[in-house]
């Protein structure tokens, strides 16, 4: 019976996703979405991928990491090398870029994840800067000038599939035993160990998964804006992503999605206001944090379940 309910829920989610997909596709083919709106649509999708993946590390597992732009840069550069220099298909380039980022996540994660809180934040901040330093100094990838003329292959279908892929994988991970283990680490690392949870393994796993999807985000970014430079991936970008995660609520994936979409839209809407833009943006953030310090969603998820909560509770207690 429980299975029925889940598959029904999945069907509704699938129908919703398809509706969004065809709605936007339709609008795009009818030319009802301007160039400016399209750019922001792409940014919106990429930001969702970045925010959801960072939330896995910071919100769910509780490891304050500030190097997300570094992983994004690895995904962007590696995928661009494969499409631009080696003429490989885009999908393969995305996967290789993401894998490279995940590998970097493991290499960085193993030594730094024994650090906690602010120390980990500083170490990962340093990692992001190292990546930037490396990209500036390699002539093969354009040095400080960056890579220009990357084939523009990111389009709405690619973006959509990657966003859905990211969300589905991470949400399923969270609902599994592995996700539970990560939450336990966030709540109390010592207690998690006494439960028999291998804390190092799960911290590195969360880090690698987060990096993997950040790599996808970077690859999509590079192949839409056809120009990537070391300055595209400064720590300010890591910070932007962190703002989305905190604003949406640490540990809430729906919160991250809403916040990533909201911030992208607000940013776009305020584009004309030039200097005032940053002021209004900052004030908005302060207001939200004052009135919702736990973030828009707290640690809760917005689910279809909540609408049918009463029924759900009855069937659950009957199941016991």
């Amino acid at each position: 019976m429980k299975k029925m309910r889940i598959s029904k829920k999945n069907l509704i989610a699938l129908a919703g996703a398809l509706a969004i997909y065809f709605l936007v596709s339709g609008l795009l083919s009818l030319g009802m979405i301007s160039k400016f709106q399209e750019i922001n649509l792409m940014l919106l999708g990429i930001n969702i991928i970045l925010a959801v993946s960072l939330n896995l590390i910071v919100g769910v597992t509780g490891q304050l990491a500030l190097g997300h732009a570094g992983f994004m840069a690895i995904g962007a550069y590696v995928s661009a090398i494969f499409t631009m220099y080696l003429d490989k298909p885009f999908l393969l380039a995305i996967i290789l870029g993401a894998l490279a980022a995940a590998l970097a996540g493991i290499i960085i994660g193993l030594p730094t994840l024994r650090l906690k809180g602010d120390y980990l934040a500083i170490a990962t901040l340093g990692f992001g800067e190292i990546i930037r330093g490396i990209t500036i100094n390699i002539d093969y990838i354009g040095g400080a000038a960056g890579m220009i003329g990357i084939p523009r292959q990111t389009n709405w279908p690619y973006l959509f599939v990657m966003v859905v892929f990211t969300i589905v994988v991470i949400v399923n991970f969270l609902n599994s035993t592995h996700g539970r283990a990560c939450v336990a680490i966030r709540e109390n690392e010592i207690a998690a160990e006494t439960m028999g949870i291998n804390t190092t393994y799960y911290k590195v796993l969360a880090f690698a998964m987060g990096a993997f999807f950040a790599g996808i985000g970077g690859a999509l970014y590079a192949h839409y804006f056809y120009l990537i430079q070391p300055t595209t991936f400064t720590f300010l970008r890591s910070f932007d992503i962190l703002v989305m995660v905190v604003l949406g609520g640490l540990g809430s994936m729906t919160g991250s999605i809403i916040a990533a979409a909201g911030i992208t839209i607000v940013n776009a809407a305020l584009q004309d206001l030039a200097v005032l833009r940053m002021v209004i943006y900052a004030v908005l953030l302060i207001v939200v944090m004052v009135f919702r310090p736990q973030g828009l969603m707290g640690t809760k998820e917005f689910t279809l379940n909540r609408w049918v909560k009463k029924r759900g509770e009855v069937s659950e207690s009957a199941g016991n």
Binding site: R180, V183, A184, T194, M195, I197
Partner: protein, 167 residues
């Protein structure tokens, strides 16, 4: 051996200061206690057993663990440790910060767990209480065992009385 490996050998720990998962519900805390077990039905049965021992936890199973009182949190910590079906259970200062009445309740449950076949190693500063339920006692001073024997012998020993039991 890393800490998490030890659990596999049938040893579970109730840490000092309880260390429950404050932002998870009571039930989720118990489920995490069974983290290494794969038998879903067995886990549900174990949860029921814990609820039988601690009816108050059942009433509050959907409540966030951080909102429980100190005594209830201690019950949850013990219940959570039971979920891995340990053969040996290590309890670190279970009476810490609890009202005398609650201490008695907790200790009677510890005794019950022991009678059901789990060996218990209890570290406790409330010596008279601990000796009243223990089979054997050890007195540690700066890391060395200075005195050991059956609990009743220790409770009647002059040295222990003088140092720990208040004359």
């Amino acid at each position: 051996m890393p800490a998490q490996e030890i659990v596999k050998y049938g040893i579970s720990q109730v840490p000092e200061g309880r260390r429950i998962f404050a932002n998870l519900t009571v039930r989720e805390n118990l489920e995490l206690g069974a983290y290494l077990r794969k038998d879903k039905e067995g886990i549900i049965k174990s949860i029921r057993d814990v609820f039988r021992k601690f009816p108050r936890l059942e009433e509050r199973q959907k409540q966030l663990a951080g909102t429980l009182s100190g005594g209830e949190q201690q019950m949850l910590a013990i219940g959570r440790a039971l979920m891995s079906q340990p053969r040996l259970m290590l309890l670190d200062e279970p009476s810490m910060g609890l009202a005398p009445l609650l201490v008695e309740e907790i200790f009677s449950i510890i005794k019950e767990i022991n009678e059901q076949g789990t060996t218990i190693l209890l570290v406790e500063q409330n010596a008279s209480m601990a000796l009243s339920i223990a089979d054997r006692g050890y007195v540690l001073e700066t890391g060395r065992i200075t005195l050991q024997g059956s609990a009743s012998d220790l409770a009647n020993s002059e040295a222990v009385k003088k140092a720990y039991l208040g004359g």
